[in-house]
Amino acid sequence: MFRRDPIPPGEAVEILLDGQPISARRGDSVAGALLAGGVTRFRDSVVSGAPRAPYCLMGTCFECLMTIDGVANRQACLVTVEPGMRITRQSGAPSLLPEAET
């Protein structure tokens, strides 16, 4: 969906998406880094499970919710990358309570 412009980039930083390394640039937002890294599906919706991706990149739509360094439902477009940051996609609502025994 996106590529980087040819202008000399900033310092490279590696982050992990679901355990896979992605190369980001210092100063990138997490959402920006993932878009540049070719990620199209950011999460599956809480209601129907449909795939979703950032819509606004300015903190309004909450489509970019991801688990970042263990904290669920963070807005990836408002978080700046840090080296080694661990990002996981959420499928449905984040699992923060014990699963029911059935």
């Binding site: 809480v46 904290v71 669920a72 439902n73 449905g92 609502a93 984040p94 699992s95 923060l96 309570l97 014990p98 699963e99 029911a100």
Partner: protein, 369 residues
């Protein structure tokens, strides 16, 4: 709007449950309701179908609440079928936690009293020691001293109950009119004249179910409904997967996955804006009860004004001086909705002099002549 037999003032949970029940008896029912942002406890409540702790000093209220809990499953099935809206009623029993021995002892004393006063006809409950709690609720907070578990307590999706009552009402022929806040009621030869800034209508009979506004309207038809001001604030989290392993009166998880945390009680404010300090304390208490909640995000908090009779007991009755005028008012409109549709509405339809248990009569407030 002209062709109707009875008018219900108020389209909240109480008014719409009564309206539905009245329509089921064959009456043509008109509901007059207020504005989008009128004060509505029905859109701000916690969703409990709750019995424990109710009716201290008024055993009829303890019995009435228990009765409501018992008829809820049948009422819910019927309402779901008529409205096509699922209510997610769940009655697993509920915990009342003590965060100190003193608090726990207070809860136990109250429950014991209610049992004695009702001659054991109230809902069954049991004490739960800390050791038992740790087994029943893995992850329970270190500060919880123990709890009481009431067997009849439950909850449902209160927003969908509101939707379902409106939808089933429409299907049963109830005419619903928003933007029709009633400001004046005058007895007339043909019944009652109801006025507002929208105009006026005449109605043969009228039911006052206007929530906090009822207090002002009741004296116009010789009824009394004195209220206590009580603002409650609730905190709601994002949806999460997994289940909260218990139900309590201050923490519950909706069927959609959000956790609701309640609820405060303030008697001295009229303001609508929530108070973050109160939200902070509600959150702190919830985390102490069940620490895994700390990781959840709060996405909303709101306040609502409870419809709280001065003595806490429902107010039902027909006016003696203006027959044909009724009042139905209570705090627990979710819990009692089943009874309002199934018991109270038929009595009103019949024109019974006494509506519901005698202890709930509006006359206890010394109706002025």
């Amino acid at each position: 709007m002209d062709q109707h037999d009875i008018t219900v003032i108020g389209g909240g949970l109480v008014g719409s449950a009564v309206a539905l029940g009245l329509a089921e008896t064959g009456l043509r029912v008109l509901v007059l309701d207020g504005e989008d942002l009128s004060r509505r406890a029905s859109r701000a409540n916690f969703g409990l179908v709750w019995v424990s702790g109710k009716g201290l000093g008024t055993p009829d209220y303890a019995r009435w609440s228990f009765e409501a809990a018992r008829i809820w499953p049948g009422f819910a099935r019927d309402l779901e079928a008529r409205s096509g809206v699922s209510l997610s009623l769940d009655q697993p029993g509920g915990y009342s936690f003590g965060l100190s021995i003193g608090e726990l002892d207070g809860i136990i004393a109250e429950m014991t009293h209610i049992t004695e006063e009702t001659d054991g006809e109230g809902a069954p409950w049991r004490m739960v020691s800390r050791a038992e709690l740790v087994r029943e609720i893995p992850g329970i907070g270190p500060d919880v001293a123990g709890a009481v578990h009431g067997s009849a307590d439950g909850h449902l999706n209160a927003l969908r109950l509101f939707h379902a009552l409106h939808r089933a009402g429409a299907a049963a022929g109830v005419t619903y009119r928003a933007h029709h806040a009633v400001t004046q009621i005058e007895p007339s030869s043909a019944g009652f004249r109801l006025r507002g800034d929208w105009g006026q209508i005449t109605t043969p009979r009228v039911v006052l179910a206007a929530g906090t506004e009822t207090e002002r309207l009741a004296p116009m038809v010789g009824l009394a409904a004195p209220l206590k001001r009580s603002r409650g604030q609730i905190v709601v989290t994002e949806r999460v997967s997994g289940r909260l392993p218990f139900l309590s009166a201050i923490i519950r998880q909706t069927d959609e996955g959000s956790v609701m945390i309640g609820d405060s009680d303030e008697g001295d404010t009229d303001a609508l804006a929530g108070n973050p300090e109160i939200a902070a304390l509600l959150a702190a208490r919830a985390i102490r009860v069940y620490p895994p909640l700390a990781r959840l995000n709060m996405v909303r908090s709101w306040t609502g004004f409870r419809v709280k009779p001065r003595d806490g007991i429902p107010i039902y009755g027909q006016s003696r001086s203006c027959p044909g005028a009724y009042v139905v008012l209570c705090h627990s409109g979710v819990t009692l909705a089943a009874l309002h549709a199934r018991r109270i509405a038929p009595q009103i339809a019949e024109g019974a002099a006494q509506i519901g248990p005698a202890a709930f009569s509006s006359e206890r407030f010394h109706v002025p002549a």
